[in-house]
């Protein structure tokens, strides 16, 4: 049983920002190539399908947590017992750590390739993680505040995706649904790295003041992410030729190379620097979820865990040097996220509902 005092809780509508911010990270900068690899022009349909899957998943999460009287760690303990349940919670915490590490390391790679090739990874990481530590030690409300600004302030970036329309060929989106079901499924799967993150709700659920009212906002957050992903995907498909898109590792950044304004000759420098504001809440929330998960499971001090986790992450990030390492990390997290979304959450949902039914009958 976890009961959070009201002064530590956040209003229900803020869940919109929390969910959207957890989903929206570095994936969106380069998801076009992987998703369109198998299905080419149908990639935007895969994006929408993936979005619908997230909605279903989110619905399940709310069902799981509704009468649990806590978050996912409580559910784990109730169903699986102290040891197995605790182990599973620890695994989930590890997953959130990996998520944060992937986002931060991929972002540093982008800064290295696009802006400063000689940027020292450990310098940037240490400054950034220091900031993350500072924010998380302020508590969940502070993290939520950062999330709010991390969504609102960079929102103007969306308008830059109007610039490539000048050179776009809308015919590139036709003919729709020209690929087999298997290919569509594969490309939907490759969306996983871009859409995962919303599982954070499993952990911060008790911190919402009015969980029932927050449902609407959570779904709106997911819908907002999906709409942005779909629009960016459509613009990319129309702007690049099919074969050209496969050449670009970060298609979203390549799109920015065409943006030209009277006062800014090239937008990608501003865009990438701005993206720091988008990944900051993302990383903070992921680390917060990881530490909270461990705190609730093992009843230890959250600050001490946070320091240990940040130091560990710092080591991992400094050790990943080449793009192969980073790709490996990306694939690992993408795969794990996929299995969490399609394996773990549905299983937990089914077991949990059976468990509750049986328990209810006993009474």
């Amino acid at each position: 049983m976890i009961k959070i005092a009201e002064r530590f809780q956040v209003s229900h509508f803020l869940v919109f920002y929390l969910i959207h911010s957890l989903q929206f990270g570095v994936g969106v900068l380069g998801f076009q190539r992987i998703v369109s690899e198998k299905v080419g022009r149908d990639a935007w349909i895969s994006v929408i399908i993936a979005g619908i899957m997230v909605h279903i998943s989110l619905w399940m999460i709310y069902k799981i947590l509704k009468n649990s009287g806590g978050n996912v760690t409580t559910v784990h303990r109730q169903i699986l017992g102290k040891w197995i349940g605790g182990g599973l919670s620890a695994c989930l915490a590890l997953y959130f750590c990996l998520l944060a590490i992937t986002v931060l390391r991929t972002y540093i790679e982008i800064v290295q390739v696009w802006m400063f090739p000689d940027l020292d990874v450990w310098v940037f990481t240490s400054v950034f993680l220091f900031l993350v530590f500072y924010i998380i030690s302020g508590g969940f409300r502070v993290v939520t505040g950062i999330t709010f600004f991390g969504v609102i302030l960079p929102i103007y970036v969306l308008f830059t995706f109007l610039f490539p329309l000048e050179f776009s060929e809308l015919n590139n989106l036709a003919p729709p649904l020209n690929h087999s079901l298997k290919e569509m499924a594969q490309s939907t799967k490759s969306m996983s790295l871009t859409i995962i993150g919303f599982e954070g709700l499993l952990v911060f659920y008790p911190f919402i003041k009015n969980p029932d009212k927050s449902k609407k906002w959570a779904h709106l957050g997911v819908a907002f992410s999906t709409v942005i992903y779909t629009l960016i995907m459509m613009v990319s498909l129309a702007y690049f030729s099919e074969e050209q898109l496969q050449k670009n590792v970060w298609a979203t950044l390549t799109i920015w190379k065409i943006v030209e304004m009277p006062f800014v000759e090239r937008f990608e420098y501003i865009g990438i620097a701005n993206w720091c504001l988008i990944i900051l809440p993302n990383v903070c929330l992921s680390f917060w979820c990881a530490t909270r998960c461990l705190k609730d499971t093992f009843k230890v001090n959250q600050k001490i865990i946070l320091v240990i986790i940040l130091l560990g992450s710092f080591m991992v990030i400094s050790l990943t040097q080449t793009r192969e390492h980073i790709n490996m990390l990306n694939d690992l997290v993408g795969q794990t996220g996929f299995y969490i979304m399609f394996g773990y959450i549905p299983c937990l949902f089914i077991i949990n509902s059976i468990f509750r039914k049986v328990k209810g009958r006993k009474r």
Partner: protein
Amino acid sequence: MRIKLLLTIVVIFLLSGCVEKEVIDDVNLIVAVAYDLTENGNIRGTADVNTYMKDQPVRDYQIIGESKLSRDVMSEMQKKSQDPLVIGKLQVALFGEKLARKGLSEIVDTLQRDASIGERLLLAVTRDEAMTLLEGDFATVGAARYMSNLILHNIESRDLPRTNLHLFLYQHYSQGQDPFLPILKKNVQNGNVEIDGIVLMDDEKVVTELPNEKLLFFKVLTDQYSKGSHTVDIPDSEDSAVVKSLSSSRKLKVISEQPLKVKIDIKLKGYINEYTGEKITPKIKGEIIQAFEKEMEKETLALIEKFKELKIDPIGIGDDLRSQIRTFKIEEWRERIPELQVDVHADITISESGVVD
């Protein structure tokens, strides 16, 4: 508290300047670059660097580097430059005719791989050696500004089809379209540079070229909303009229898949800019329209016939087919180009004829 403050200050001092600085006064900005093929098969790059002085027009000078690989050309140039050369402000890239006939893939790869080069970079093929164009006389603006303005205003309000690095890469990688680039020529008399038609390429190299007179018809086939002007000779009379196009559109419709047959609808809206006869009556206007439509159909068909002969597709018919026929195999498109049958239908409207009748 004091320790925290001290720590912050120390960290700030330690971390400032941990990446390479590029101060604008301490670097040489390359604004234009020219690539040529030398006699022994090397690539010679010429970089055009601007120097700005107080109350004086821009002066530019050239730095030359030669190497086997286009990547190394840059490092050769660095050895000859006083300040580090940076390429972020590159506006124009020129390719010598010989190099363009051999193939451009390698150099284009160099240009797109560099994150600091913009996608609006203009590319052009030159008559003879590209290097000689940079040495021309460009009055007060310098070579890069001059050439980019020259190309851009001709794209926007004249009959040069749209090109830039992004469009070139789009066409280069697409299996349903082939690239084209404008040709620049040095005017021998005054040292200026002028446009002298366009080159058409297959996947790799230049295969043929079109003269300036055919550009309007080509542009109508490639771009939407193209502008340009054309002189129409009115049949059965000595008079002729200049028609200026305001907007145009091109639609492609598949008529049958086996044999491959398409219909291209061209719509053009324009006004009469100049007329050698006495008075433009509705009858004469009709004649002008009819003559222009006929010429448009004839010329565009002739262009397409030429493309079929050379197995190239600069106007992107393949991309249109791919989006209209579900079973179309784009991989076989180049082999199937000669099979294509095309009907062209032109529809021209003339709205105005100037301030006098």
